[in-house]
Amino acid sequence: MVVVHTAGRSRTGYSGIPAWVFVIAAVGAAFVLLPLAAMVARVNWAQFLPLITSEASLDALWLSIRTSAASTVLCVVLGVPMALVLARSEFPGQRLLRSLALLPLVLPPVVGGIALLYTFGRQGLLGRYLEFAGIQIAFSTTAVVLAQTFVALPFLVVSLEGAVRTAGHRYEAVAATLGARPSTVLRRVTLPLVLPGLASGAVLSFARSLGEFGATLTFAGSLQGVTRTLPLEIYLQRETDADAAVALSLVLVAVAVAVIGLSIRSGIGSGRRDGALAA
């Protein structure tokens, strides 16, 4: 009996995907790629280098990379414990807490900016005490990092929590009966096991931080070299110089693609878990 079906062919075997799914998938891909291509087509290549190497552009790029790196570190520091608690422990209101922790994912960034303003701003909940202590957060690079962390943290928490849940806790149980303290289990078993998930979460957080705009604009302000990140610079350039805006947009896309590409090449962004069940 020969199975007669053209749909769902793949190089290595049966994929089970009907042909029309491929058609819609292609439309979807075009929907994402076409605008990027259109933007590339609009680049003024003659002026490209001078545009992206202007002092303002380089300042913005460097600031973006610095702040995104800092916020990624902050996301890891805060997000790993959050993900572990959400994935492993049970307590009343946990589901609610989880939804709230992931709120920035669906919140318009401007709303995040306003919320941060009323927290860390001069007259904010914490800001007014920080002000007494001589610490000013608004209009500082710190504010940029806080805004980026606020919007990027859920990405890390979500992807790591998924990884922790998938990994299960059997390895941890074995480690504990072998005499490992909970901190040792975390350091030597749990974290190494979910490293791929952690890494892809960190990459996502970095990418999200890089693209942060709304919360930064609302909360941190916009000053060259201090708070004006690449997206803010693009937004500003767009007012007067479309060529510069397009050129900088391309730089931002290139940086994002490079980050994602690097993570895939090193195998950390693909969610691969080797030897999950070494039996």
Binding site: V3, V4, T218, G221, S222, E239
Partner: protein, 277 residues
């Protein structure tokens, strides 16, 4: 590869039908989206050259004109039964970009001459733009005015957290020329992309002072306090208005412009804080 063998020909038309159904759905979706866009156009308008005005007038106006133009529009509709004014407010440069990309509109009112020039340079304007309002900078401070700002020079005092518009945007350019004319060096903590952002930072108390337009302070109510300063006359912002060549309802467009520049319009603009020529 037994799994990859061709499907019998008899089944192919069936599959083709299903595919075309999918394509059909996509086409309908696209058409529906296009329909949404079409609804915004002024294409439905018609006005006889001699008779009464009718149809829709689509007005693209600078964001700072929002309150005034909304009021003028309702006056216009009341005076010309059968007409409908559609208003679209955004930054002047955004609007010009949209218009050069072919957005359908009948009237364009800019917050500065620079953006209007972009429009006329692109030969999109019908006739010469008319200046209908002016706006000057003013100092906005939080109601408490904790930094004790009383004049333009106070803005340069150390410890005063000043927020201004970036030099690239019109209000920032005006700020720069005032600073230059007075020989003051400003050290802002932030250079925002729009007046709204400056105002937001002042009204939230993050900034001690900001430089915005008189009309912005007025529309912000009691959330901020305005401090006028004489040096502002060094940078007067002029608002031009013009009908668009692509307009399909030019009579109504011209009538709307006439109302804006006429006594009724001047009155509304003045009460909003604008200067009128």
């Amino acid at each position: 590869m037994i799994f990859a063998s061709r499907k019998p020909a008899a089944r192919r038309p069936f599959r083709a039908a299903r595919l075309s159904a999918v394509v059909g759905v996509l086409a309908i979706t696209t058409a529906a989206l296009a329909g949404c866009a079409g609804a915004q156009s002024s294409g439905t308008a018609s006005g006889s050259s001699t008779g009464q005005l009718s149809g829709t007038v689509t007005v693209f106006a600078a964001a700072s004109l929002k309150a005034s133009f909304t009021e003028i529009a309702s006056k216009f509709e009341a005076a010309n039964p059968g007409t409908k004014v559609k208003l679209s407010f955004a930054g002047s440069s955004d609007l010009v970009t949209q218009l050069t990309q072919g957005a359908p509109a009948d009237v364009f009112a800019s917050a500065d001459t620079t953006n209007m020039k972009k429009l006329t340079d692109a030969s999109l304007a019908e006739g010469q733009p008319v200046n209908f309002a002016t706006n000057v900078l003013t100092i906005a401070v939080p109601p408490s005015n904790t930094a004790g700002v009383s004049g333009f020079r106070d803005l340069a005092k150390p410890g005063v957290r000043l927020v201004v518009c970036a030099p690239k945007v019109p209000c920032g350019a005006a700020t720069q020329s005032v600073a230059k004319s007075t020989g003051t060096t400003l050290a802002p903590v932030s250079e925002e992309s729009s007046v709204t952002d400056v105002l937001g930072k002042v009204s939230s108390g993050e900034a001690d002072a900001g430089l915005v337009y008189v009309t912005d302070v007025k529309s912000a109510g009691d959330k901020v306090k305005g401090i006028a300063f004489p040096e502002s006359s060094n940078a007067v912002n002029t608002y031009p208005i013009v009908a668009l060549r692509a307009s399909k309802n030019k009579d109504a467009a011209k009538a709307f412009i006439a109302m804006v520049t006429g006594s009724e319009g001047r009155q509304v603009l003045q009460s909003a804080g604008f200067g009128v020529p």
